[in-house]
Amino acid sequence: MKHHAPFLVALTALAAGSAVAAPTVTRLTPPSELFSSGRADPVIARFLPGQRFDLQATIKPDAGQKISAARYFIDGKPVAATVALRDCASGCVKGLAAETAIATVRAVSSEAAGRHEFSVEATQADGQKVVAKGNFEVVPFTTAMGPKVKNLIILLGDGMGASQRTAARIVHGYAQGKALQPLAMDSFTATALVKTSSLNSIVTDSSPGMTSYVSGNKNNNNEEGVFPDDTVDAFDNPRIEYLSEYLHRTQGKQLGIVTTADVFDATPAGNAVHTSNRGAGTGIVDQFFDDRAHTGLTVLMGGGRKWFLPAGTPGSARTDTSDYAFSASDAHTAEIVKRWGVSAGSLDKGRDLIQEFQSAGFSYAATKADLDKADAARPLLGLFAFSNMNVALDKINGRRGSEKNGLGGASVVEDFGLPDQPMLDEMAAKAIGVLKHSPKGFVLMIEGASIDKQAHNMDTERWMLDTLEFDRAVRVAQDFAAEQGDTLVIVTADHECSGAALIGGSVVTDAKLAELAGKKGVANLRNSVVGVYEKAGFPHYRIAADGYPETTDIDYRLLVGYGANADRYEDWRTKKTPQRDVQQPFATEAPLKWYPANAQERDDALGDYLVTGQVPGEQAVHTATDVPLSAYGPGALAFTGVIDNTDVFFKLAQAAVKGVVAPADTSGSRKPPKPKR
């Protein structure tokens, strides 16, 4: 961060008139414009009444000096809690002098509504003092017009912007401009447009994208449930209490997390885990388990089994380098344990986490068959893959017994050794089946993760089918909410991915397209294929009984362009993994090409249709474009307008804690309309 000397008041320096020296505060947390620029607006950090967060300051003393004490004040009143003071002799980011001090108070909160000013006063060993100020806001609950909702369901289509939603609807079919079968998410009663920026970029990644919805605050990219700091420890950052933790602590609600990704991935972890390194897999999954009494974690499902197997068990990815252990003696981290009431963690790569979940009473499912059998009266751990689960298109092909086109004649899921993976809607139904036994209600996050991951790959058909899979999970949640009448459901995205745009339709049959793909080149694959405006017509995908297209390689298909793309070679056809009938010699055995470091260029010397990317590298990227959010259930109409991603948190909490402030739909009804099926 870059700031701020003009706004710091070096008290003693002023008093003594000693020109040179004074300690300075280089970072003050929670982040504020008041500290960074001196402007009181906009207020960056906002909290619910009583929602807990950490205070932290980084203080640079004069050369040869050290910081001997620090105190915090909120609205001029001293904060009555231990200030943990550490230096930067080790463990701080590069560039910080060893005598730099970090002063932290853990788990403070304020009940009083409105804007608050807070300050840190640090004292140098020679008696000089520095004071720095910031602000935050406590957003009050408002008078309700209806009862509290018991359950909150957040459906998060990762990377799912408006284009991804529209594409899925088009695959369901159109006739004369009207959708034959709207998506379940299209039938939600209210929609808002969400601003997705993170604390440090207009373009967020999935960590702050998720945590803004469930903490009310902006995080830095790659960080979840924490504010940035100046140490290298990934687990010691200033924390912000999550929706799950707040509602478990104040109301006893349970938490469910369901994803098609590895469960340690940013979106699932961003509901229950506090870390500045979204990649710290071992520590992240340990925290899921160790702090389950803190978050109410009752259901955890997805991929990522590699993090749960003891190091030494084949397939395990557990390491001490991606784990954490808080010190019992250093107050900097010991106070996390003491004040937040959470586990200290330990470097225990040999831990058998599946066994520990089972010993704690969880059912464990490794396959869909296990999932079907799991006792809904018990908490549930489901780990269906070693990393991300396979995507919908490949899972469906596995179920259909089609596309057995691997090197050995197997399907994709067979080649991954995991032929019996559940679909997201099946996981969602089971999660709800378990969580509905929670007497105080639940918070459930369901993520369609590979909409994003396949958009990164610019693999059009795979993200379209993952969006369809996700919408089937939306339908499960909506049906539950319609039946219950006390459940608020939102469906949204953390950000858009790839700048996908539905540019039109192919003007040729698939057979012709395959022929043109063989000929390659712009003339064949662009000029002869891409139909714009009325030439696009209405692509017609035939939906099979399993809910997915019979094939994505239809005649006159939907065409997608990418505005945030890397270079790619486009032939518009569903990306195939190899065909069995490729003539031998099947595989190249020539020497491999290589580059000196940093030379990464491509050409289209082979005559392929090269679409030049606006971004470097191999992958399409996230965009800063707003994303739609749709709501269904009591209070749904509170979700309208152009809102900040952090606003969503306060709306959800209002509905759960105090009661809804808007009707369920435009008829004014408190209960949502029954969805048409």
Partner: protein
């Protein structure tokens, strides 16, 4: 003197001393018992027997957003990775092989190549954590002549 001379050469280039032996033909499906059971992977006798020996393996070079010098991943299916956004929440199968260039070539980036590749090298089975913290279970150490003699001017197109 001829044999010791060859052995010395083999040592110099990091070749296994059994360099002249015919490589064992292995397939990804040979590595672990499939389908994978409810917990970890179960290595086959074939994998364990091949460890430390020259093998020939057909697979696909993983297309990385952030390639690492001196190595690449080989998988039974084409996989692309978006490390910047996703890190280790990746689409790699459990049987992924980490392919290592010889020590002297560890600064080189291997160009991504679409389509199946046949690679020959010395197989290693067992856990190993690399500098990035990633744990590999199966590695293939390539011979010095696995790469072209000169760097390429431009990359081959990716598969689509």
């Amino acid at each position: 003197m001829r044999v010791p001379f060859l052995l010395a050469l083999a040592g110099l280039f990091g070749l296994p001393t059994a360099w002249a032996a015919q490589p064992v033909e292995l397939a990804f499906g040979d590595f672990f018992v499939q389908p994978i059971g409810p917990r970890g992977l179960e290595p086959t006798e074939r994998l364990k027997a091949a460890s430390g020996h020259e093998v020939r393996l057909v697979g696909f070079m993983v297309q990385r957003e952030q390639p690492q010098a001196g190595q690449f991943f080989l998988t039974p299916r084409p996989v692309a990775m978006a490390e910047h956004a996703d890190g280790e929440a990746d689409d790699l199968p459990a049987a992924t092989v980490t392919v290592l260039l010889p020590e002297a070539q560890r600064d080189r980036f291997v160009a991504h190549q679409g389509g199946p590749l046949t690679l020959t090298g010395r197989l290693e089975y067992g856990p190993a954590e690399d500098a990035t913290g990633r744990v590999s279970w199966v590695r293939l150490r390539l011979a010095p002549d696995a790469l072209e003699a000169r760097p390429s001017a431009a990359a081959a197109p990716s598969s689509h």
